[in-house]
Symmetry: C2
Subunit: 265 residues, 2 copies
């Protein structure tokens, strides 16, 4: 029995919420009527990931972030670079259809990217619930350094960035994926949810980290553990691959991990 | 002879460009008619910096970033936190006036923040000129690892984040301060200016770093050295303190450095 790309995408959009205004999800490349031979998911549609998908015999790649280094369609100056032109040519030759699943997976209940990270961290039993964009975790008292070590071990990371006192004991943790480390999502959460620590993907350095620094100056102990954007959202895309495999037992479904982008020197 | 805060601010705005629409510069706290006893500059008006300014006998603090964890005025939810309320109270008791000099120093010719960083890096003789938001540096062939070591030594940093091959030799470097590491300022610059490496403060991780990763997949060697926002802009505020001291020999002018925000675990 053959299933088309269009049918897979209907399966995905049915499980997500309705598409928001200014949404970014959609088929970025490929023929929706083609029969699906294999599926892969990944954080971002990098050239490395597309090549890996092709080598796995996959013809549908589902990624969270897009192709051209921009949340929305890139402007003319980026679109006109040699790297973008070469990547377009390479995609055209790959035979791999590329679907972006960003808004849909974030809007599913619960947010599939957040759930995937909490699951990968081994904290589903400690998950108290969700508050706005965050998962709230209750731990039996771990220091910042112990939490950092746990996170690195569970996610296979070489390092995390930390703000705060590494010996501080933490019981209530907020988990915010992707770019939700910015001041508006993260700062009010500390006080509203009485959090000791927020673990986030990425956010402007002069926002939440400076709030935590001032909070420490006021003898209000708080801490941050910063994973990086890709590290915080890849587990959700791995979780998506597993969910799809359960729904589609006859089609091979892979998750394609990537090496960390940054090296610390 | 006494000089008022207002007169110092006129001196500053005269040397900057005209104020842009949506500009953020201005006196955030204090009485412009007070006589200036001492001046300090810093990257951000953290509580630590304000306390240090007070202990130095300074009553005018000039910072690049603002008070409340937001480029613009913070929204209600941030403004309503205990940390903000306590900081407001502490500022009111400090007797330190606080002026934000963000747009003015960026709009001076050359951009004082960029110039200050190039100067601190010891690259004024290697400065070829400016292109859009960047300083263009020509080096006599240094590897990425050598550039990272040079930058860490000159700026007193424990680490930098790097994307690319640490053994790659680089001759043309773009220097982008603050949040100018984003895709729109940084990506086109690589190809327009034929750069081997861009050194920037901060930018979204899925933009310029992912472009560099794809560029490497295409065998077009390029690299990034990422300093952090504060590390990239503090030298410009240090340079401002020295310039003000030259113009105002009778008033003590200090630069207040801060410890790095992030610890790598």
């Amino acid at each position: 029995m053959s299933i088309s790309i269009r049918e897979i995408l209907e399966l995905l959009t049915d499980s997500g919420g309705s598409s928001p205004e200014n949404g970014v999800d959609g088929l970025e490349y490929g023929n929706p009527d083609a029969a699906v031979k294999g599926i892969a998911t990944a954080f971002i549609a990098s050239q490395h990931v597309i090549e890996k998908a092709k080598s796995l015999g996959v013809n549908l790649l589902i990624t969270h972030e897009g192709l051209y280094y921009s949340h929305f369609q890139p402007g003319e100056q980026i679109a006109g670079t040699d790297v973008v032109r070469e990547k377009k040519r390479m995609i055209g030759q790959s035979g791999v259809a590329i679907y972006r699943n960003h808004d849909g997976i974030h809007r599913s209940q619960p947010d599939g990217i957040t759930y995937g990270l909490v699951r990968e961290l081994g904290w589903l039993d400690e998950l108290e619930g969700y508050s706005s964009f965050a998962a709230i975790i209750r731990l039996p008292g771990m220091t910042v350094a112990e939490i950092a070590a746990h996170v690195k071990s569970k996610l296979g990371l070489g390092q995390v960035r930390v703000v705060g006192d590494r010996t501080m004991s933490c019981e209530r943790i907020g988990v915010l994926v992707g770019y939700r480390g910015g001041g508006n999502p993260a700062i009010p959460l500390f006080e509203q949810e009485n959090l000791d620590l927020i673990l986030y993907g990425e956010g402007p350095e002069w926002e939440t980290p400076e709030y935590v620094k001032d909070s420490l100056s006021q003898n209000k102990p708080r801490a941050l553990v910063i994973l990086g954007h890709a590290a915080s959202e890849s587990p959700g895309m791995k979780y998506l691959a597993e969910s799809l495999q359960t729904k589609l037992p006859d089609i091979p479904v892979h998750f394609i991990p990537e090496e960390p982008l940054f090296e610390i020197l």
